[in-house]
């Protein structure tokens, strides 16, 4: 290549000792400090109008947020819907996800819920119907109930925390699971505190 400008070559220049991590946070280069991802439950109230869900899900996929679940449904106010989002991100990512959500014009408010918030998920588990009584008793152990039965299959409904549903699905494996469907997490703050 031609061209070229005067001045000291790269190696002859003074260099600082400092460093930032991949999130742009200044760190002590001796001690590695990359933030760990955590599970965050975000709740957003949005205008109840077409296109909002697409805008929200598009935002999350385009910005590469690690999304675990997304549920949406109407609220007590017919003009508003609530979206509950569970994401797995380091702290700066959680903050960024909140701010990006807040930026969407039809989004009214966004909060991150306390880990102690009421969090529920629902699963329908369809298993082989060879031993309906045993299926029924396992379902009862998880506070669930059979909602459909045929010659060949039994379908059980379980509601609860994500951990409980994971455990239930594991337990039902002994009956040969045919199909499982799960909703994402729906969540509200505990007590009188309003989930904005």
């Amino acid at each position: 290549m031609t061209g070229g400008l005067p001045g000291a070559a790269p190696d002859e220049r003074p260099h600082p000792d400092g460093r930032r991590n991949s999130q742009g946070v200044r760190i002590d280069p001796e001690v590695e400090a990359e933030p760990e991802p955590r599970r965050a439950v975000l709740s957003a109230t949005v205008k109840h109008e077409p296109g909002v869900l697409a805008a929200v899900s598009g935002l999350f996929s385009r910005r590469q947020f690690n999304i675990e679940s997304l549920t949406v449904g109407p609220t007590e106010d017919e003009n508003r819907a609530r979206i509950t989002l569970v994401i797995e991100e380091p702290d700066p990512g959680v903050e960024q996800a909140k701010k990006q959500l807040e930026k969407l014009i039809p989004v009214i408010s966004v909060t991150e819920l306390d880990p102690s918030a009421s969090q529920r998920e629902l699963a329908l588990i369809k298993v082989d119907g060879d031993a309906p009584d045993q299926v029924q008793s396992v379902a009862e152990m998880y506070g669930g109930e059979a909602v459909d039965a045929s010659q060949e299959t039994v379908t059980v409904e379980i509601t609860g925390s994500r951990q409980k549903i994971n455990a239930a699905v594991d337990t039902f494996r002994r009956f040969d699971i045919r199909e499982v469907v799960r909703t994402g997490t729906a969540a509200l703050e505990r007590g009188a505190e309003e989930t904005r």
């Binding site: 290549m1 070229g4 001045g7 000792d17 742009g24 296109g51 960024q96 989004v107």
Partner: protein
């Protein structure tokens, strides 16, 4: 109808007819259709120019424009319409408006909308859509325009109701210009624009869920001021937000009061005068050595209205590694997105700078403590000057061409560019002193941006303000058809093609990082641009050596209309300094063999 700009969608006879019933036009006609409501909403916002291309689904809106005073500029391609509207927005500060029909018209706008989005430029796009009953049926010229443009607009609207369509357009206009600016889009189904309504649109306003912050939190300002007051090596990094937020005066006064060196980002060019001692010009991939050294060694960095793009930061791990970052931005989502902000100040740039200033005034003047740092910075200016060799026997150097054009024009001249090496030379070797005089595609890096942008810029500029467009041969070829528009409108634009018979920036990377395999980067097949300019009806010049530069520049600048100068420059010339992609800002290459050391 404005005096300077001839009507473009009307024949002379029609225009004359329209002129004769001027008396009747004094009494504004009421809204009669959705389309006339759209036009009324645009008129209410004070829009002057619309850039667009006709077509089936948008025809009702064009029909409603027939008797409007709005100036419609017919472009050769919708991409040109979007870039022209974008540039109009940058130069005037008010949203530029572009129009297109459904389907291909709308998709042709996409590049220009994405470009405006990446650079936070105020713009509104109005697109025709198939009638509501056909939507979703893959009807002729149907595209899911709101779906396609969702990720590249600040917000967009499907206008489904003739009674509210005018208000929707007003809201789109308001959202585009308030807070962090950006493009908005309104999709207009043909049945809605054709439907009868007499509802007059109300005042343009943003929705109640949209409340951009004004002032930063007082405690945060206090903490930031403490840090600046205690610093020894501060720099200010002024981004495009300073210009968009009309905070240039506040920023200049602040920097001068405390004598803090100022670096700009590329979109921030013009925020601070480059001929001032405190200016270090632009940092980043092709920024000056002194700006990149200052960023690398500063202890406090005050970023205002910047999004810390990777072309600026290089690898974030090595960006301003010793600095506490004060980040002023109106968009909370920009805070700590790329670089962690130790002192986030969310609010309007000008207001927050004033807040910082008030707070610093309560402390002893820190500028003496910065004296040693200022000296260091000046020493770097001497060590890494922006220079190039101009031996007579060598092919023409592009940097020389930029300098001659700068000399031949006034300080308030607007420069627009395509994307590539020529864009870099155009900012490195031109002296920018005023805001809104640098119009370029930064975030998206869109080749072909320069010429249509020059058209929008010229119409937004003051009558006596010149417009110079720098293009590469590759970029120019991408939207060259818009020369027909510049000729038709008789726009006084000088296009300087820095013709290296390569897509030079690609060739530079191939030489630097792909062992010189020049795959698909030779453009020796480009047409004779001067002849082509003449074919379009513009003035054309070809210059191949130093002797011809000044005469051609003089002739082109003198000429009252569009002119094109095809400068045949050194095809092997490269852009330096250079920080390789993801590299360390303090380790820029000053010449080719430095690249091996990085």
């Amino acid at each position: 109808m404005s005096e300077q700009v001839p009507p473009t969608t009307q024949t002379e006879a029609e225009a004359a007819a329209a002129d004769t019933d001027e008396g009747a036009e004094d009494a504004p006609k009421g809204v009669t259709t959705g389309a006339s409501s759209v036009v009324r909403a645009l008129e209410n916002t004070g829009a002057e120019y619309l850039f667009g291309v006709q077509g089936g689904a948008i025809m009702p809106v064009y029909d409603a424009l027939f008797h409007s005073d709005l100036n419609h500029v017919t472009m050769a391609h919708e991409q040109g319409a979007a870039h022209a509207a974008d540039a109009f927005g940058i130069v005037s500060g008010d949203p530029g408006v572009c129009l297109a029909t459904s389907g291909p018209g709308a998709t042709n706008l996409v590049t220009g909308i994405a470009d405006a989005s990446m650079d936070s430029d105020p713009m509104i796009a109005l697109t025709g859509q198939v009638p509501t009953d056909f939507v979703g049926n893959d009807a002729f010229q149907e595209t899911d325009t709101t779906g396609v443009t969702d990720p590249i607009t600040k917000t967009n609207y499907f206008a489904g109701d003739e009674d509210t369509v005018g208000d929707v357009v007003g809201e789109a206009f308001a959202v585009a210009s308030e807070g962090r600016q950006g493009p908005t889009l309104v999709d207009l189904p043909k049945d809605v624009t054709q439907a009868e309504t007499d509802v007059e649109p109300g005042e343009a306003q943003t929705p109640d869920t949209y409340n951009p912050p004004e002032e930063a939190d007082d405690d945060a300002v206090e903490a930031a001021a403490d840090t600046i007051a205690a610093a020894e090596k501060p720099v200010i990094l002024a981004g495009g937000g300073v210009i968009k937020g009309e905070a240039t005066d506040e920023l200049r006064a602040f920097a001068r009061e405390y004598e803090i060196p100022v670096i700009t980002t590329m979109p921030g060019i013009g925020a601070y005068p480059e001929d001032d001692d405190l200016s270090l010009e632009v940092a980043g991939m092709h920024g000056t050595g002194y700006a990149n050294m200052a960023i690398t060694h500063c202890d406090v960095l005050v970023g205002v209205g910047t999004r810390f793009d990777d072309r600026l930061t290089g690898g974030v791990d090595s960006f301003a590694p010793e600095a506490d970052v004060v980040h002023v931005d109106i968009d909370p989502a920009e805070i700590s997105k790329n670089v962690h902000a130790d002192y986030p100040l969310i609010g309007d740039a000008g207001r927050v700078i004033d807040q910082l200033d008030d707070e610093l005034d309560r402390r002893p003047d820190p500028s003496d403590r910065y004296a040693e740092w200022r000296e260091q910075v000046q020493a770097w200016k001497t060590e890494y000057p922006m220079d190039y060799a101009t031996p007579d026997d060598e092919p023409l150097k592009p940097q020389f061409v930029v300098e001659v054009l700068d000399e031949a024009t006034d300080d308030d001249t607007v420069v627009t560019t395509g994307v590539g090496q020529h864009q870099m030379w155009a900012f490195q070797f031109w002296n920018y002193t005023e805001p809104r005089t640098w119009v370029s595609s930064h975030g998206l890096g869109t080749m072909g941006y320069g010429l249509p942008a020059a058209i929008g810029a010229k119409l937004a500029a003051d009558d006596d303000q010149s417009v110079v467009c720098f293009e590469g041969d590759g970029s120019f070829l991408m939207t060259i058809q818009e020369l027909s528009v510049a000729v038709r409108e008789n726009l006084d634009i000088t296009v300087a093609v820095l013709n290296n018979e390569y897509v030079g920036m690609v060739r530079q990377w191939q030489d630097g990082f792909f062992e010189g395999r020049r795959m698909a980067s030779e453009y020796s097949w480009c047409p004779d641009f001067a002849k082509l300019a003449e074919a379009f009806g513009a003035q054309g010049h070809t210059v191949a050596d130093y002797d011809g530069v000044e005469d051609a520049v003089e002739a082109a600048v003198e000429y009252d209309g569009p002119s094109v100068i095809d400068f045949h420059i050194d095809p092997e010339e490269n852009v330096f300094p250079m920080v390789p992609s993801g590299g360390k800002n303090g380790k820029f290459a000053l010449q080719a063999d430095h690249l091996d050391q990085l």
